[in-house]
């Protein structure tokens, strides 16, 4: 079986010469270091790659793997302490290391351009959009004001921004995140560069907005024949844009090749680990746990001598893998696929789980009264209009939602930013109070009771896991203090007993007991989230609220945390409310799903019902927008127009009417849609009859 697909290609791969003649970018044994107080940090020791005209290369890997460093090195922008410590970067055949400042300036922004992760902060807040665009032709081709203006307007239209003339005089803060990123893309393409470096360009955007931006990039790239280096931590977005993919780990390019080849036959254990960590198609918490990569990315100064991945690799062979640095070797039929692993040809071929080998386990049927019952819940904030305006207006963050969650089940709330899912969680926790409707926990009404006024039993019954690992733990307190304090407060037991309980809790979340003495800054993101879960468990709660608990984590760590949550919930039988924007995670671990948009529930039902037609048009758009890390999955893409309206300008009828691709007419704008129910408890709020909604293809997930 070993290496059946691999054909040894010694030396230069023969296929390389045939593909595309003109290299735009060549990295030859590039090394990048940062000088810090501790000495020289070799962030990227040695990377080689070639990018041809019009080609798009995706660079993926977890945080701290050096992908962004590499991107900025390509622009030769490493800040004061960074430098090119070895090798050459050739751009259009010229050695960038030898360029003078003036030469660099002449190619930056004209021949090579960059798109950044956070568009809001990448645009100058005090200069109008138009002026910022005009700078490019004025600096690079000495264009006149009028020419530059005309060019800027053309580009604004080309990135499909509505009404370029008006937008021209706007300032960045007046645009939505998606629009800002379009402006940044327009700015990058102003001078028709041959190379575009994109550093996590859609991270932080909502999934429907992300889909539209990716779509735009794919179109413009073909039109202008621009080569792209696309940095992302999300394998799915890379699949949408790129022809080739490079996987980076601990500063090294461990695998690189054509995208279909790498995905069909991932040959580095790290690549496999990344793919396995994503909830795969039709996998379910009942039939297969997610596969996390054990351990974490080593700090730069502690990188292993041999294979950098060896300490986390399940296929590691001590000695052979760990003795000396690993050479890159070619692999596969085309000879374009290369891997940094000595055991590539001995590994079993990677099997991608498919729909066929997944069998749907029966859903847990809830019994008795639901644990959590929500009826017509509303949360409005009063916005005062200032001293002279008087009155003011109401902003409805949550606008009448009905939900229930059975004991021991997981209810997932899905939606994009501003849909009210976090406000909903705050009402449950008692940090905010509802302004209407009911929230019943095990029969007790809690919606209008602030947390200070809740009795000990209720406080103990609801605990929460927060999104941001950096703000979830008080940096001044040790882990042991955090946990024992929570145990003592919630269970009212002695300090001595709490200490034993602290150890037990740490074990529950798979952390060594010595962690009790550590401060949060000594922990990684995943470890902090484990502590946060342990803290939530301290009072043995009946309801665990998890607000995007894994969205800030790397994919390999994410899988471990999800497994932990599933495991704990099944062992303890507690109810979980899981708030997320990630549909594949939701499909993996939820029993029921509610899809929210602008404070309303658009669709609610059992997970298998929500993930199958009939879909609410918004659910349909969301599902089509999710980037799937599989080049073989082809799906119809629904690109939504415009941005999510702000809660202050909520449409009168259906909240989704302004962006809906299936809008049937004025009725959508004017009348609140009826809630259509099926016998299985599946509810869809839409004017379109269920039969019609059913007539769409099922999305693979």
């Amino acid at each position: 079986m070993t290496g059946s697909a691999a054909r040894t290609v010694p030396g230069t791969p023969p296929g390389l010469k045939l593909v595309k003649p003109k290299p735009i970018l060549e990295l030859r044994n590039v090394g990048i270091s940062y000088m810090v107080r501790a000495g020289e940090l070799k962030v990227v020791p040695n990377v080689s790659l070639t990018l041809h005209e019009g080609e798009a290369l995706g660079l993926v890997g977890e945080s701290g793997c050096g992908k962004s460093t590499l991107a900025y090195a390509i622009m030769r922008y490493l800040g004061g302490s960074g430098r090119l410590s070895g090798g050459q970067i050739l751009f259009e055949g010229r050695d960038m290391g030898k360029m003078s400042d003036a030469e660099l300036r002449s190619i930056r922004g004209s021949r090579m351009a960059m798109v950044y992760q956070d568009p809001m902060s990448s645009l100058n807040p005090t200069i109008s959009i138009g002026r910022q665009l005009m700078e490019v032709p004025i600096v690079h081709s000495g264009a006149t004001e009028a020419e530059a203006r005309a060019r800027a307007l053309t580009m604004l239209a080309e990135v499909k921004l509505p009404d370029p003339e008006t937008l021209f005089d706007r300032y960045p803060h007046q645009l939505s995140g998606g629009q800002q990123q379009r402006v940044v893309i327009a700015m990058a393409l102003m001078a028709e560069p041959s190379l575009l470096v994109m550093d996590e360009p859609t991270t932080g955007l909502d999934v429907t907005v992300e889909a539209a931006v990716l779509d735009l990039v794919a179109t413009l790239r073909r039109k202008h024949n621009t080569a792209i280096v696309f940095i992302s931590h999300n394998l799915g977005t890379v699949v949408r844009i790129c022809d080739r993919i490079g996987v980076m780990y601990a500063g090294e390019l461990v695998e690189e090749g054509p995208i279909t080849e790498v995905f069909r036959d991932p040959s580095h254990p790290y690549t496999r680990g990344l793919l396995n960590a994503i909830p795969s198609l039709n996998a379910d918490k009942r039939n297969s746990p997610l596969t996390a990569i054990p351990g974490q990315v080593p700090p730069i100064l502690a990188r292993p001598k041999g294979c950098v991945f060896a300490p986390r690799c399940i296929y590691v062979e001590p000695g052979r893998c760990t003795a000396r640095p690993i050479e890159t070797q070619f692999y596969g039929e085309t000879g374009l696929h290369r891997v940094k692993c000595v055991r590539t040809r001995e590994l079993p071929r990677h099997a991608r789980p498919t729909a066929a080998n997944a069998n749907q386990a029966p859903q847990a049927e809830e019994t008795g009264r639901p644990m959590l019952q929500i009826g017509g819940l509303e949360k409005a904030y009063h916005q005062s209009a200032g001293m002279f305006g008087g009155g003011g207006y109401e902003v409805h963050a949550v606008d009448g939602i009905d939900l229930e969650a059975g004991r021991g089940t997981t209810l997932a709330i899905v939606g994009e930013s501003g849909c009210g899912k976090s406000t909903f969680a705050k009402v449950l926790t008692g940090i905010e109070q509802s302004t209407g409707g009911t929230v019943q926990l095990g029969g007790t009404e809690i919606g209008k009771t602030p947390v200070e006024a809740r009795d000990a039993g209720t406080k103990r019954a609801i605990q929460m896991v927060f999104q941001n690992p950096d703000s979830t733990l008080n940096p001044s307190h040790s882990i042991g203090y955090v946990l024992s304090r929570a145990i003592r407060k919630l269970r009212g037991i002695s300090a001595r007993a709490a200490r034993d309980e602290t150890e037990a809790l740490l074990k529950t979340v798979n952390l060594p007991t010595e962690f009790a003495n550590r401060k949060p800054r000594q922990l990684s993101g995943g470890q902090k989230q484990r502590v946060a879960i342990a803290r939530a468990l301290a009072g043995e709660p009946e309801l665990i609220l998890a607000d995007e608990p894994v969205s800030a984590l790397d994919v390999s760590v994410q899988a471990a945390i999800i497994n932990l949550l599933v495991d704990i919930q099944q062992k303890r039988g507690s109810t979980m409310l899981f708030i997320s924007h990630d549909l594949s995670v939701v499909r993996y671990l939820a029993d029921h799903v509610a899809v929210m948009y602008l404070g309303k529930v658009m669709e609610f039902g059992k997970v298998r019902d929500v993930f199958a037609p009939p879909y609410h048009p918004y659910t349909e758009a969301l599902m089509s927008a999710v980037p799937i890390a599989d080049p073989d999955v082809k799906r119809e893409r629904i690109i939504l127009e415009g941005a999510i309206p702000s809660p202050t300008e909520r449409p009168k009828g259906c909240p989704f009417a302004t962006r809906c691709h299936r809008k049937i007419g004025p009725i959508c704008d004017e009348q609140v849609p009826p809630e259509q129910r099926t016998e299985g408890g599946h509810r869809i709020a839409c004017h379109i009859p269920l039969e019609e909604l059913k007539a769409v293809e099922r999305f693979a997930f």
């Binding site: 622009m75 922008y77 004061g80 300036r105 002449s106 190619i107 930056r108 922004g109 004209s110 351009a113 960059m114 950044y116 956070d118 902060s121 990448s122 645009l123 100058n124 807040p125 005090t126 200069i127 109008s128 700078e135 490019v136 600096v139 690079h140 300032y171 803060h173 007046q174 940044v184 700015m187 209009a385 200032g386 001293m387 002279f388 305006g389």
Partner: protein, 313 residues
């Protein structure tokens, strides 16, 4: 934006009223004390009571406050017990003198602080940055009266190139301009360092912003990046700080005018205070607070102009 301005304006009126009440309360709340202060410690209680009666000081507080407020608002500032004349007769000349001193110092502080602050902050950690930063820390740490002593030792006693006092009389050996050099230098030295550090801090922060990186990777030269992209953003935060220095200058002039015997508003205030001359101190205090509060409004306006986020909120 209009609402914002209106709000600020209301708050100005409120602050001024509160401050005037405070000042009034501080000096005139206990009526006997005013008369006692006027008559001195050797007057009999009878005399004190009589004067209290005659000055109408035994009327209710709010009535006297209202009278004082309307008088002050209509320009009647009362009579100075120290200078034995209407406060109006002295305060304006003194203010004029101080205005010269403060205006020259302020102009130098603004220009120099922006220049040094930007120069230091555009490359954090450079030699220039460190030199400017340390120099700023040291100069702001020397009290005005001490730097007055140091400068006078060097330029008056040792070199003999400048006068040690500044009576602003052109008849003597020194020109008015020469008399201004040391007072202005002392004020600038003390205050400049603080503002430089504010401008520098803001500039350093702006230089780490992603939009500066965008500008560099757009192919702009360092000069263009600084002038077109960094400068304006870097001035937003220190703008208010710079205007607040007018507040400081009022304190500064009191000390500096005392050091150099400068016939200004600050020395008048101090002399009046030491002589328990209530009417003069009240008038001077109100004026000083009026200046600071007005500055705040100007500061808000400028802030809005510089920051489109507020302009187009």
């Amino acid at each position: 934006m209009l609402a914002f301005l209106g709000k600020r304006f209301l708050s100005l009126i409120f602050t001024m009223l509160a401050v005037s009440a405070l000042v009034f309360a501080a000096f005139e709340f206990t009526p006997g004390q005013v008369a006692r202060k006027v008559l001195g410690p050797f007057a009999t209680q009878d005399q004190v009571d009589q004067l209290t009666e005659r000055m109408g000081l035994n009327r209710p507080v709010y009535e006297r406050y209202w009278e004082w407020l309307t008088n002050t608002a209509s320009g009647n500032l009362g009579t100075s017990t120290l200078y034995k004349t209407e406060v109006n007769n002295i305060i304006w000349d003194r203010l004029g003198n101080t205005l010269i001193l403060a205006a020259v110092a302020f102009a130098i502080i603004v220009v120099a602080s922006i220049f040094f602050g930007i120069a230091a902050g555009m490359r954090e950690g450079s030699k220039l940055d460190r030199a400017i930063s340390v120099a700023s820390i040291v100069t702001t740490s020397v009290p005005e009266f001490a730097s007055g002593v140091f400068l006078a030792s060097i330029f008056v006693i040792w070199l003999g190139v400048l006068p040690g006092t500044s009576p602003l009389e052109s008849s003597g050996q020194w020109s008015i301009a020469a008399q201004l050099v040391l007072p202005v230098s002392v004020m600038v030295l003390y205050d400049l360092g603080y503002v430089v550090r504010m401008v520098r801090a803001s500039m350093v922060e702006v230089m780490t912003k992603p939009y500066i990186r965008t500008a560099i990777l757009k192919g702009l030269s360092f000069r263009q990046v600084i002038l077109k992209h960094a400068l304006r953003n870097a001035m937003i935060a220190p703008f208010t700080v710079i205007l607040l220095q007018i507040n400081y200058l009022i304190t500064g002039v009191v000390v500096v005018e005392a050091v150099f015997a400068y016939p200004g508003f600050g020395r008048m205030l101090l002399e009046a205070a030491l002589a328990q001359d209530i009417a003069t101190v009240e008038a001077a205090s109100l004026f000083a607070v009026f200046v600071t509060v007005t500055t705040q409004i100007v500061g808000d306006l400028g802030y809005m102009y510089l920051n489109p986020r507020i302009r187009f909120a």
